[in-house]
Amino acid sequence: MFKIVTKKVLSEVNKLMEIEAPLVARKAQPGQFIILRVRENGERIPLTIADSDKEKGTITIIFQEVGKTTKELGTLEVGEYLSDFVGPLGRPMELPTAPGRVVAVGGGVGIAPIYPKVKAFHDAGMEVVSIIGARTADLLILEDEMRAVSKELHICTDDGTKGHHGFVSDILQKMLDDKSQKIDEIIAVGPLPMMRVIANQTRPYGVKTLVSLNPIMVDGTGMCGCCRVSVGGETKFSCVDGPVFDAHEVDFDELTRRSRTYLDEEKIALEKFEHDCRCGGGK
C-alpha cells in the first residue's frame, strides 16, 4: 500500500499527488514513469514521474481526470492509500552532452511530464525556452515551476484567456524561423495531435525533436507488448525502449489508432463509475 502524503488541485481537472514510495524515489530519473493501481480490481495505468524527493521518499504525479481511473484517483485524499505503485519504469531521458539551447513544449497535462525534463536540462546547464499551452487559462498548470527552470516561458491558450491566443505550434514556428537563435533540441509532450503537429512542423528544419509517449500499457516491463509503437519502421515497446522517442520517426497514425482501442470500454467504465458515485457505492 502506498500512502498519499500531499494532494493539490491544480485546475478543475488536473491534480497533483505526492505518493510515499521510497524505493521508487531513490531511483527515479527524468523521463521515467510509474504504474499504479488505485485499488484491488483497478487497472494498471502509467503516469510520468513529475518530481521525486529521495529524502522524503516521495514521488510526485500529476494527472488529468479524463477516465474512470484518473477520476477515481482524484477522489482519494491525503492519508489514503493506493493499492499498487511500481517503478521507476522506462529509460531515463538522455541529456545532451554539449551545452546548448533547448525548446520544451508542453500541452495540457503534458506540462506535467515536460517539467522534470526541463528541470533536468536546466540543472545540466542548458538554456531552456519553454512553451506551455492549454485549452483555457484555468487549465494551465505548473506555470511558476516552469518559469523557475526556463530562460523564457511562453504561454498559449486556445481561447485567448491567457498569453498568446492560439497554439503552442504558433510560437514554435516563430522560433524555428528566427535564424539568429539556434535550437539544438526540441522536446514536446502533450496530447497525440499536438505531438504529431510538432513532429511534422520541425521535420523540414532538421532539428532533433523528442516526444514522450503515453500509450496504453499493462505490465510496463516489456512483457505484454501492448504499448508497441512503430519508430523508424521498427516495432518498439514504449515501456522499455521509451517512453522518449525521436518524434520524426514515430508513426503517429498507428499510435493514434492504437490509443483508441478501448474507447467504448472506457466510456462504459466511466459511466459505471459515475453512476456508482451518485448512488454512493463508489468505493
Binding site: R44, T221, G222, G225
Partner: protein, 473 residues
C-alpha cells in the same frame, strides 16, 4: 472404505486410468471455472491400487522435483492421506499446481511400467487429489528450522522462484521474494487461465504456504529498475541471489499489419484476462476486446490457453493457425484434446503472411499461405515450406500471437558479470550457478520458454546449490 483382495487384484490389472470427471464442454466454454473436478477419495484409492510399487521405481526419474512417487501412492493405497501429502511436500512445495499443470505424460507417467501395456498410473491426478485434500481441510503450518543467518533474494515469483524460495526457507535461510507485478505467481498468475489453475482457490493458497515457510514476499518491485542485482548484494545485504524471471518477452511474427488494433501477443491477451480479470469487466477495470472470429497463431500450450480463453470471452469461432502439422504441435495432448472438445478449429500447415486492417486500423483479415512439410530443420522437425500460389484470406477480427517468448532482458541488461546465451538467456551450470559468484538462475530465463515443472526442478536444484554456497561463506 477398504477394498477386498479380489477388487485390489482386479484393479492391479486395470489397463486404463480412472477417468477424472470434468465439466461438459458445451457448458464450460461459458464459464471460467476449472474444467476437471479431480478424484474423490474412493477413485483416488482405486487408482492408487494400480501402482505396482516397483522397487526400482522409474517414475521418480521423470520427476524434476524428485517426488517419492511410489511412497505417496502407497500412503493413498493405505488411505493415509495426511501422511501422503506430507510425503509429497517433502519435495514439492506446490503440489496443487503441479497436479494440474505438469505435463505428467512426458514426465513421471512416461516412465511408469503400467504404461507399457495400457495407460500409466494417473500420478498427476493422485498428486492433485492429495493437494486438494489438504487444502480442503486446512494446510498444516510447517515447522520453522533454525535460522542460518544467511539472506537470499529470489527474483521472480513464478514456479522457479516459488520453489527456490520455499526450499531455501526450509533450509533455514532468510528469503525475500521479489515480484514485479502486484500479484505473485508469475506465469501461474498471468499466463495459465483460471479454468486450468484457479487463482484464489489454488494458486493463492500455495503462495500462502510458501509465505508460511517464512518467505518475505515483496510485490511491486522490479529488480533491475527499482533495485538492481548489485544493490541486492551491496545495499540490501543479501549473500546470494536467485534469478527466476522467466521468459517474459513476447515474440511477434514480423509480418505487415501486426500493430493493427485487435492484434494481441498471447502475453497481453492472457495477462488482461487472468491477472487483470478482464472477463469480469466492468466490475474489474481492465477491458479486453474480441471479435466474433478469432485466430490464434501457434500450437503450444499458450496457444491452447489463448484459444480456450477466447471461447470463454464470447468468441463465436476460434481458430488455431499453425504452420506445421498436428504431429509437431508442441502443446500437451490433454490441452489439444480439451481445445478440440470445446470447438476450437485447427488450421494446420497454414502460415500467416500479412494482417489486413480496415479503414480504422482494426483487423479485418489475415492473409495466410498453405504449407507442406519438407526436410527436417535444425530442431529435427520437418521444415514447413510454403506452397506457391496457395495464399488465402482468413476473415478474422482478432489475432493472438502465441509463437513463444524470449527471456526477459531486464536483469541481463542491468547486471554486470552475467554471461548470456545466444538468445538472451542467462548461462548457468547444472546447479544453476551463473558466471558471477553468488548469483544463481533457473527456469525459462536459463532454458528459454519451457514448462512449469522444469522451472520448479531448476529452482529446487539451485536452492541446494545456494545452500552449499552459503555454507562456504
Amino acid at each position: 472404505m477398504s477394498l477386498d483382495k479380489e477388487t485390489i487384484k482386479e484393479l492391479r490389472k486395470l489397463k486404463e486410468k480412472h477417468p477424472m470427471p470434468e465439466q461438459d464442454p458445451r457448458e464450460r466454454i461459458k464459464n471460467f471455472d476449472e474444467v476437471p473436478f479431480g478424484y474423490d477419495q474412493e477413485t483416488a484409492v482405486k487408482e492408487a491400487m494400480r501402482c505396482l510399487q516397483c522397487k526400482d521405481a522409474k517414475c521418480v526419474e521423470g520427476c524434476p522435483v524428485e517426488v517419492d512417487i511410489p511412497g505417496f501412492i502407497k500412503l493413498i493405497q493405505e488411505e493415509k492421506f495426511d501422511e501422503g501429502i506430507k510425503k509429497l511436500k517433502e519435495k514439492n512445495n506446490l503440489p496443487a499446481v503441479c497436479g494440474r499443470v505438469c505435463p505428467q505424460e512426458s514426465q513421471c507417467e512416461s516412465f511408469c511400467v503400467r504404461g507399457k501395456k495400457g495407460q500409466p498410473v494417473a500420478i498427476g491426478r493422485l498428486e492433485r487429489f492429495l493437494a486438494d485434500y489438504e487444502l480442503a481441510k486446512g494446510v498444516e503450518k510447517p515447522e520453522k528450522p533454525a535460522p542460518s543467518g544467511k539472506r537470499v533474494a529470489v527474483v521472480g515469483s513464478g514456479p522457479a522462484g516459488l520453489t527456490a524460495a520455499g526450499d531455501l526457507a526450509r533450509m533455514g535461510h532468510e528469503v525475500v521474494l521479489y515480484e514485479a507485478f502486484h500479484a505473485t505467481g508469475g506465469v501461474l498468475r498471468y499466463g495459465i487461465p483460471e479454468f486450468r489453475l484457479p487463482k484464489e482457490k489454488i494458486l493463492q493458497r500455495e503462495v500462502d504456504y510458501i509465505a508460511s515457510l517464512g518467505v518475505d514476499i515483496r510485490t511491486n518491485v522490479v529488480i533491475g529498475k527499482t533495485i538492481t542485482v548489485d544493490e541486492l548484494f551491496d545495499e540490501e545485504g543479501f549473500h546470494a541471489v536467485f534469478i527466476g524471471t522467466g521468459a517474459g518477452l513476447p515474440q511477434f511474427l514480423g509480418i505487415p499489419g501486426e500493430n493493427c488494433n485487435g492484434v494481441y501477443s498471447a502475453n497481453e491477451f492472457l495477462t488482461r484476462t487472468n491477472l487483470m480479470k478482464a472477463y469480469k469487466f466492468p466490475e474489474w477495470d481492465t477491458p479486453i476486446k474480441l471479435a466474433k472470429k478469432v485466430a490464434v497463431v501457434g500450437a503450444g500450450n499458450v496457444a491452447m490457453d489463448s484459444a480456450r480463453t477466447a471461447l470463454r470471452l464470447g468468441a463465436e469461432e476460434v481458430h488455431i493457425v499453425y504452420r506445421r502439422s498436428d504431429k509437431e504441435m508442441p502443446a500437451r495432448a490433454e490441452e489439444i484434446e480439451h481445445a478440440k472438445e470445446e470447438g476450437v478449429i485447427f488450421n494446420l500447415l497454414t502460415n500467416p503472411v500479412k494482417i489486413i486492417a480496415d479503414e480504422n486500423g482494426w483487423v479485418k483479415g489475415m492473409e495466410c499461405i498453405k504449407m507442406e512439410l519438407g526436410e527436417p530443420d535444425e530442431s529435427g522437425r520437418a521444415r514447413p515450406v510454403p506452397i506457391k500460389g496457395s495464399e488465402f484470406i482468413f476473415d478474422v477480427g482478432t489475432v493472438v500471437i502465441a509463437i513463444g517468448n524470449s527471456p526477459n532482458p531486464l536483469i541481463p541488461q542491468t547486471t554486470s558479470g552475467l554471461e548470456l546465451g545466444k538468445k538472451g538467456t542467462i548461462k548457468a551450470d547444472s546447479d544453476g550457478a551463473t558466471t558471477r559468484k553468488g548469483i544463481f538462475a533457473g527456469g525459462d530465463i536459463v532454458t528459454g520458454a519451457a514448462t512449469v515443472i522444469l522451472a520448479m526442478g531448476a529452482g529446487k536444484v539451485a536452492a541446494r546449490a545456494i545452500d552449499r554456497y552459503l555454507s562456504t561463506l
